[in-house]
């Protein structure tokens, strides 16, 4: 699972670096040559969807999704395990909802043959498929978290960072 999550985040990181290159290139083309690149905005939007959907599962594995543990921190070890399991279960359900809802949306777009209104005019179902993919990854990560708990391990794995969550606002 760790491997799958890392592949996801690796791809997300690559999408981010590609977005950086595209945005920076587009600024320079517009500023120095007065030739903006018309398809960058649209493509970067799709890349962002991919970035989020691919990295969300790894954030779950590392326990980086924000939760408010004001009350649950006061529970005993059993209560805390219970809420941790409930958290994984909630993500499992949310992931499945994204998988099913996202799949339906993409299937509907394909059925109607909808193309994007931007410069690229791609079939919309293609980028929309990123949503069910992300849902699937999240659901699998949550299921693995639950399995880990069933075998007495912590649901999260991977390095716990100081202050958790890096540059969270």
């Amino acid at each position: 699972m760790a491997c799958l999550c890392l592949v996801g985040t690796g791809l997300a990181a690559a999408l981010l670096l590609v977005s950086l290159a595209l945005v920076a290139w587009s600024v320079m083309m517009r500023y120095f040559l007065n030739q903006p690149i018309p398809w960058v905005d649209e493509l970067v939007g799709y890349l962002l969807v991919g970035l989020v959907m691919l990295a969300a599962a790894d954030a779950l594995r590392r326990g980086e999704h924000i939760s408010v543990d004001l009350l649950t921190d006061r529970l005993g070890p059993r209560g805390r395990r219970l809420t941790a399991a409930a958290g994984q279960l909630a993500v499992l359900v949310a992931g499945l909802a994204l998988l099913i809802g996202g799949w339906q949306t993409a299937a509907f777009s394909k059925l109607l043959g909808i193309y994007s209104t931007g410069y690229l005019a791609v079939p919309v179902y293609l980028p929309q498929l990123l949503i069910p993919l992300g849902g699937l990854l999240l659901a699998v990560a949550a299921a693995v978290g639950l399995l880990r708990m069933a075998t007495g391990q912590s649901p999260t794995s991977g390095p716990a960072e100081p202050g958790a969550g890096g540059l969270r606002p």
Partner: protein, 429 residues
Amino acid sequence: MTLLLLLAGLVLVILTGLPVFAALGLFGGTLMVVDEGSLAGLGEIVFGKLNIYLLVAIPLFTLMAHFMIRGRIVDDLYGTAHTLLRHLPGGLGVATVAACTIFAAISGSSVATALTIGAVAIPQMIRYGYSRPAAYGVVGGGGTLGILIPPSGPMVLFAVVADASIGQLFMAGVVPGLLLATCFALHCMAAQRFAGAKAVRREPRASLMEMLTALRRSFWALTLPVFVLGGMYLGVFTATEAAGAGALAALLIAMLVYRTLGPLDIWRSAMDAARTSAMLFMILAAAAVFSHVLTKMRIPQEIVTLVTSHDLGQIEFLIAVMGLIFVLGMFLETISIILITTPIVLPVLAALGIDPIWYGVLLMVNLELALITPPVGMNLFTIKAITKGPIEPIIRGVLPYAAILLAGLALLLMFPGIALWLPSTMMGR
């Protein structure tokens, strides 16, 4: 009434300790099934909310901050501030506020500001004889500037949800941010001035040479924010472009000038920024489901009717909303507050003719308070993580800063010009 019930239910669900995005998503999804009979619109809402070019400013600004931190460009920031300001009464505290202010203009994150500056500043202040609450307070308070002084992730989220200009909102945060920073610094000076026998020994003024050396060490950390924000102010960049140009500049400076950033560091920075953004945007997507249902239930319109039928003025309405957000801020974290409340409040802002930029700045100052008001305050937790001590002296220490923030909020309510003047002078608006 329905709204209050829904909000209370939502807060309860979030307080169960589920990941916020899952709690919000399940709550919104359940309402959607009850209201519409199916989840058919889910995929489209989530896709539509994430497929937004403007939002990519957040991962790009995060990437810029990572490059500057991992590239050690900001390492000397606190030392430089100390060299320049150490002769003042409470000089270390003033230097901490100054370093927080500049770091806020680099990171756009309050937690990162408190974490990075606090790790250096707190031990040094305690070594020089500052009381623990005083040392914790200045980092906790100064750190909150991260979300008000641009760039700021929460501001981008608000602007995208409210369909306001990110660039104008950024500029509107500058003057209030600097004003609050000045008040924080004055508080540090006054606290030392009136500390009597307990006052910390003052240090000699640095020589001109020392000051120049210090400024040279932090040259890039000081100029990059000017490049990014100045470019936006002058209309050269949009916010997303500024984030891209800033990240690229930080990358080049770290690789070519400092020679501290290898391919592995770049890769790790991108992975960290991707995960942080995924975490944020999952909450954004889940909140979109919730607000979609609210809109379907016509709740924002009901509130508009309620407000107009009671003849509420701008100020009365703003005071009521700020009070509500202050209470929410004691229990929830900043991102969910922005994403839950903004869609509800927006139609009323339009009905009462309240400038969304002004409201955005008020919201940010209120959220700064949320970061340091117990029981849930991210900056309190951050300092607790640094010091590994009890939370009581931290809460005691941030109290004066919370009071200053409250006064600042009141001032901004009375004089919107403090926020709105700078954006009104922007080029290429």
